[in-house]
Subunit: 451 residues, 2 copies
Amino acid sequence: MTTTPIKSVDWEVFVAALVGVEVIVDAAQVAKLSQDYHTFSPILQRQLAGKVGDIVVRPATEAEVLQVAAVCAKYRVPVTVRGAGTGNYGQCVPLHGGVILDMSRMQRIPWIEAGIARLEAGVKLATLDKKARVSGWEIRMAPSTYRTATIGGFIAGGSGGIGSITYGQLRDRGNLLALKVVTIEDEPRVIELRGDDVQKVNHAWGVNGIIIELEIPLAPAYPWVEIIVTFDDFMTAARFGQALGNADGMVKKLITVFASPIPSYFTALRQYIPDKTHAAFLIVAESCLELLPGLIQEYNGKLTYQKSAQDVGKGVNLGEFTWNHTTLHTRSVDPSITYLQSLFPTDKSLQTVEHMFHHFGDEVMMHLEFIRVNGTVIPAALQLVRYTTEERLNEIMRYHEANGVFIANPHTYIIEDGGRKQMDPEQLKFKQMVDPYGLMNPGKIRALMTQ
Amino acid sequence: MTTTPIKSVDWEVFVAALVGVEVIVDAAQVAKLSQDYHTFSPILQRQLAGKVGDIVVRPATEAEVLQVAAVCAKYRVPVTVRGAGTGNYGQCVPLHGGVILDMSRMQRIPWIEAGIARLEAGVKLATLDKKARVSGWEIRMAPSTYRTATIGGFIAGGSGGIGSITYGQLRDRGNLLALKVVTIEDEPRVIELRGDDVQKVNHAWGVNGIIIELEIPLAPAYPWVEIIVTFDDFMTAARFGQALGNADGMVKKLITVFASPIPSYFTALRQYIPDKTHAAFLIVAESCLELLPGLIQEYNGKLTYQKSAQDVGKGVNLGEFTWNHTTLHTRSVDPSITYLQSLFPTDKSLQTVEHMFHHFGDEVMMHLEFIRVNGTVIPAALQLVRYTTEERLNEIMRYHEANGVFIANPHTYIIEDGGRKQMDPEQLKFKQMVDPYGLMNPGKIRALMTQ
């Protein structure tokens, strides 16, 4: 497999070969579409500065994708696939220029049936959600960017989100039913993967074929209520989150716990969260509402905000302050802040959370997202870090790992150095088949650099 | 509180006071309605032999229940409330005669709204399920007796069932929203309990007021598929069950695992389960179907039976062979067999299951029901026991307890000696208020015997 693609191309000839397909050559627009939200990381910001594609191609149909793939293969041009570019790992930033393949025009939803949707990769999560709700369903999980993010981008680069408290992570068996990808070969093919075979492409950062269509399971659309509960003590807030997570009779889609002063960065919500208090942001089914006060009281919490199911869509949307939107809102006030991504060990007494909370104090502000992992509710975390130096940031991450906290390092664009640690051999094998020239997002896989 | 009720009553006068309410005095019918399925236990069979009520009263409305309660209070007559009498703990058998209060005529369903149903105590679970499905919902959990069992009886005496793999147990916060009970006093009252207050009556075996109406949360009605998988090795079957339970992306409502020779007792299913194989009975959402083969293969299982969602209601219903219907079917072939009720400790490697399986061999045949307890999937079990003596049965239960297995002894009619161990002080307090003369199901609570 070629790892450093040939890249001496006459772009006029190249574009001419793409006749009929939308192409953007305007430098400012190309630069914009070569970006994602890796800027949350000062490390990636430095490493990826100035990296841009040569042109943007925006296919609207499978036939057009096949056409683009053939032309890219012919001219050995690197291809960086993107959806809305809401990711945070630089996976939409091309290291070696080439084509930015913007999938956001592929917006068909062929069908939504009882509990399953078939859709093209460029469909926005919010659009699918709205359509599915007509028949009583909704998406199982969503990133905080769900108004703009596409399903293809979410599957390629996401791990979970709002809904993971019930359905686990995107890569868990059952959360993705089928994928259709286009290969980048002299004669590109369309390959449909079903069942466990989807794992060959799932969460592979767009290096394993161009995802053009997906089949995903849906969740029942409950009437949801959004709630803020405040606490005087952080660990009590965290334990409340764990207890609600463990309550099998309570249907929920979000349990987020913020240590003070994180909520103070949410300007729109300051009236509901007194200074120096810690907060839990919850999305629960309406049927749980009468049961919450008892649980809140057990943990000395105070319900300060409640938006009923009928008012969904009005006013603020709590989900948009959670997951990595927490980092977004915080950085819009203080851009020197960065973040971690971590998964605490299975321990319902939350001892490691408590240790880290006290050990780092204000330098690492605790932001817990409770999710289900392998059948058990545990806290994931996107802690906010008051950044000083790269060395200190690495030290913080190493300390977590030494204490049993799994770190999915968001300060690297190398896939193996992030959450994956090691490329799945099946994925590598599949990559060799669908991308024989190594054109897809080159430079992001360590395993291919040493060949 | 009086614990041995006064019982010198002129039944003609008594019945005359019940004018307008349906009363059964025919001895054969009264004897029949004084029974439940405690006969699964040779101990209870002996202890409760010959225990019958004096008359059966069958109220159809709240007003009639109030009338009955007033008359019972006036004459200090014991009241044993029953639904369909499908329980197994003798809780429908009166120790001191009196009135059998049959609630099965109270069948109104005032409303079913998004995710919640309000219904009278005598509604059969299958009836509610059918009605709820019209609007896309169904009951969250059901006993294997769900075709005949009533919701009032299930809440009063049940612990969980088909569906508990997702929603936990009936007593878990969130699985019961409201209860309306009638007190047995000189001037009976109607009391509505909501939120956490429902726990004053939930799972209290009909001793804490006459449950007349309930509000319960519903579950989304997925298209369900029924499946049998067979295995050559029992522990592999058990580990498969645990793995499916842990798979957060797979929506399921039943994971039952039977050790050989249990499936050989299911005459209707013998063609699907070869001799000497162990079997998993599953009910999973249709959207999981393509993902199951991969998981089955990992555990060397063999899919031998599959009933699609469209065929639900046709042919055999796998759920009817699980939970305590396993015991029913087995005893219909070999009435000398009895059973245990237990909950294994949280341990995803299933070491205690393995130990018990080998330790007792064929004497205690393993029947696992995976359920969620406090946010984690663990195996409950209703092991089948080749009964020899009461002493040996007790020894078997003590051995389990000594090894960390929780036993809800189904061979006693004393509430505290079963699953509860100790009466909840809140429940006792509530009992004193709603049943000041101690007329409800007297003799079943140890805490009241010593007063």
